[in-house]
């Protein structure tokens, strides 16, 4: 018996393959649905097994795309190499890798909490690095592939609200830039996505919000940027202008703002 029940890629049904880490809900879930509609065969990774299995069932009930669930807490870094190998075999290849998993643990401008900082860095940054370090060599060897990291506008500056979250996203953004500089010479595309506010469970813990996009809209933006091989996008796009200004506000002024 053949080892997996994946749909076979054929010249007329090329079925590209993608892994999405942090895909049970929110932006990851919306990306999974979007790529499935585009005919992708997906390896979906998340710690929430119940939601994940539900999503896969929903995708597999449709007549395009296919999804397989894999349960992993991204902070179990040591599981990544073997899991990656297994997903590769199950999918029969890999064209696109997307890291979405992220947490935002609310704090106030006057509280300090190492445990929260550590968790955010572990999930948002270290979890991503564990995956990038197995995906990148494969794409480098193949001279092909897309790596996408979902960072945040929050990584562009350190701000009073949540230093741990800011640093986790800054680390992710910088790591992605370095990967891009390493890998573009091998024909590998690296995309950094910086959402502003998205209407997901995460947003519930944010104090002030405006210009909120649906995760579905953000997923469309990401997919378009993938096809256009963009380097960095903001979603909504206008965040690009705002963050350009914010990045250039001199520290003497920035220190005094309550941004």
């Amino acid at each position: 018996m053949p080892s997996t029940n994946r749909n076979s890629a054929t010249p007329l049904k090329p079925g590209k393959c993608a892994i999405i880490v942090g895909s049970a809900k929110g932006l990851g879930g919306a990306l999974a649905r979007k790529l499935a509609r585009e005919g992708f065969v997906l390896g979906l990774v998340d710690r929430n097994s119940e939601l994940l299995v539900q999503l896969c069932a929903e995708i597999n009930a449709g007549n395009v795309g296919q999804a397989f669930p894999y349960v992993q807490d991204v902070t179990s870094y040591e599981e990544v190499p073997a899991l990656f190998q297994k997903i590769l075999v199950d999918l029969g290849g890999l064209d696109t890798f997307i890291y979405v998993a992220g947490i935002l643990l609310p704090t106030t401008p006057t509280t300090y909490d190492f445990e929260k900082d550590r968790l955010m860095i572990s999930v948002n940054a270290l979890g991503a690095l564990a995956w990038f370090n197995v995906v990148a060599p494969v794409f480098q060897a193949l001279h092909s592939g897309h790596i996408v990291g979902i960072s945040s506008v929050a990584g562009d500056r350190g701000r009073v609200g949540n230093p741990g979250y800011n640093s986790s996203k800054a680390a992710l953004t910088t790591y992605l830039e370095a990967l891009r500089n390493r890998l573009s010479r091998y024909g590998v595309h690296v995309l950094t996505v910086k959402p502003g506010f998205m209407d997901t469970d995460m947003l519930k813990s944010s104090p002030r919000t405006f210009w909120v996009v649906s995760p579905e809209q953000a997923a469309e933006d990401v997919y378009k940027a993938l096809r256009q091989r963009r380097q960095t996008i903001y979603t909504l796009g206008r965040w690009g202008w705002i963050m350009f200004i914010i990045r250039h506000v001199p520290s003497v002024i920035f220190r005094r703002l309550s941004l």
């Binding site: 018996m1 053949p2 080892s3 997996t4 029940n5 994946r6 076979s8 890629a9 054929t10 010249p11 007329l12 049904k13 090329p14 097994s49 397989f68 669930p69 894999y70 349960v71 992993q72 599981e79 190499p81 073997a82 899991l83 190998q85 297994k86 590769l88 075999v89 999918l91 029969g92 290849g93 890999l94 060599p137 494969v138 480098q140 060897a141 193949l142 092909s144």
Partner: protein
């Protein structure tokens, strides 16, 4: 499907590479191994087992589909095993390793007055690949598939067992490994009987046929008197010219007919000049072809070809030029553009062929997706387990892929499959890329599939041998 156990050493990423099908329309990343001995073949199976990976055998990779592709698995490329082990110019018996190509084979035997009994339309294929698919030539109605000329082969099974098979010895394996798409074991040495020839030339008769009825009728009539018969079909012509084309029927020369066989049997005499189209170096010809590889362009070229071919004629042509013309236009398939091409070949009983292909050609033209090249042949059934042959004809249609038409073309080919199945037709696992497992089950029959799987269970109990093709047509 939660994370199960750790899979220990991951294979070196340097072994990862993308490989393609012949038509450049499909690719898959695999760990590439190129063993050069039976011991090294077995080592690859051990690596596969340790790493929970599957292995696909690959010759020259000239199959039009996913037969020699294995996404995220191991590809075992056998082209390094390319030695001629024994040649007896008295009896015409030759023993070769599986990576020997048809090119190397004919060049070795022709000077002694022999020619391979069955060849494909390209000489770049390997004998391992030719047996794996059990290829047919333009003489299928007379000589059967290549398997009928195999005296004996030795195969290494994934278990490490070495089997010697012939029609008499291990006959069940002989008739299933040949045609078995590399799923039962690896041919490591192959002994074949060559065909005696008395000249390096063939006498070729070429004449036009004005529609499908005449086309098939002429092939049917020409076959008994000719050693080779083939038709070129202009699939862009519609209406009363539907199925028009040209028949080429060829005969060997008898002993004494060629005044100077020593000369014509020489390899240099066979091969075509490097600038076959005059001034242009042949390696760049495909650039000049690309502008014609669209619907109106091909129609123009086909019409010009048809008109040029209206003149009947008989001429002498070398074996190599007659069989392998396409090989002398290197990379002609690149003319199909960056999305590549696919081939759709159907085999139909002589009673239903005409009506079926009339329907298929009409549909493809109506949908604006005509084939750019059609080739017709005459066939007879054979005894091999996964046989594609029938007492009838085959029509191979090449289609250019464009991104926008993929879904439409997929739906059209699924319709073709239903039409062909209804007419009692069969398909060939070296060619069609979109055949579903349901279709395969229907034309092979449940009994055949069951027997094949039982044999596989015996030769490959750990299911190490798998290909994208096998998963597609024998999966689920």
């Amino acid at each position: 499907m939660p994370v199960t156990k750790m899979i220990e050493p991951i294979l070196p990423v340097e072994k990862l590479t993308y490989l393609e099908n012949f038509g450049h329309s499909l690719r898959a990343a695999s760990y590439l191994y190129k063993p050069s001995s039976a011991d090294e073949i077995f080592d690859v199976f051990k690596v596969a087992k340790q790493n929970h990976l599957t292995v696909t055998l690959r010759g020259a990779g000239r199959s039009y589909n996913d037969a020699a592709l294995n996404g995220a698995g191991i590809i075992m490329d056998l082209t390094r095993m390319n030695k001629i082990l024994d040649w007896n110019p008295e009896t015409g018996m030759i023993t070769v390793e599986p990576g020997v190509t048809l090119e190397k084979l004919w060049q070795h035997v022709l000077p002694d007055g022999w020619w391979p009994p069955v060849v494909s339309g390209t000489m770049t294929t390997t004998l391992g690949g030719c047996l794996g698919m059990n290829i047919h030539g333009k003489n299928n109605y007379r000589m059967g598939p290549i398997g009928e000329h195999v005296q004996e082969f030795t195969a290494l099974l994934p278990t490490g067992a070495v089997m010697t098979c012939s029609p008499e010895k291990n006959g069940d394996l002989f008739y299933s490994m040949i045609s078995g798409m590399g799923m039962l074991g690896v041919f490591t040495s192959i002994t074949l009987k060559m065909k005696r020839v008395y000249s390096g030339l063939l006498r070729v008769k070429a004449y036009p046929v004005s529609n499908l009825h005449n086309h098939l009728n002429e092939i049917f009539l020409a076959a008994p008197d000719h050693d080779y018969t083939v038709g070129w079909l202009d699939a862009t012509a519609g209406g009363s010219g539907m199925g028009r084309g040209q028949i080429h029927a060829a005969k060997y020369l008898h002993e004494g007919e060629d005044p100077d066989p020593q000369k014509t049997l020489r390899v240099e005499y066979q091969t075509l000049p490097a600038t076959m189209f005059g001034f242009f170096p042949k390696a760049s010809i495909h650039y000049f072809m690309t502008p014609f590889f669209n619907n109106p362009g091909v129609k123009l070229v086909n019409t010009a070809k048809y008109i040029a071919g209206l003149r009947k004629g008989e001429h002498l042509q070398s074996h190599a030029a007659f069989h392998f013309l396409l090989d002398y236009v290197p990379n002609w398939e690149l003319g199909y553009g960056k999305n590549g091409l696919i081939q759709y070949q159907s085999f139909l009983p002589k009673e239903t062929a005409e009506a079926t292909w009339n329907e298929i050609l009409t549909i493809s033209q109506k949908k604006g997706m005509p084939s750019y090249l059609g080739v017709t042949k005459r066939h007879r059934p054979d005894k091999f387990l996964l046989s594609h042959a029938v007492d009838g004809f085959s029509l191979a249609l090449d289609f250019k892929i464009t991104i926008g038409s993929r879904d439409k073309m997929y739906a059209m080919l699924q319709d073709f499959d239903r039409i062909v199945l209804q007419a009692g037709g069969r398909f060939y696992f070296a060619k069609n890329s979109e055949t579903s497992s349901e279709t395969a089950l229907q034309f092979l029959g449940e009994e055949t599939v069951k027997r094949f799987k039982a044999l596989k269970h015996r030769t490959d109990p750990d299911n190490l041998l798998e290909s994208n093709l096998y998963r597609r047509v024998f999966g689920s």
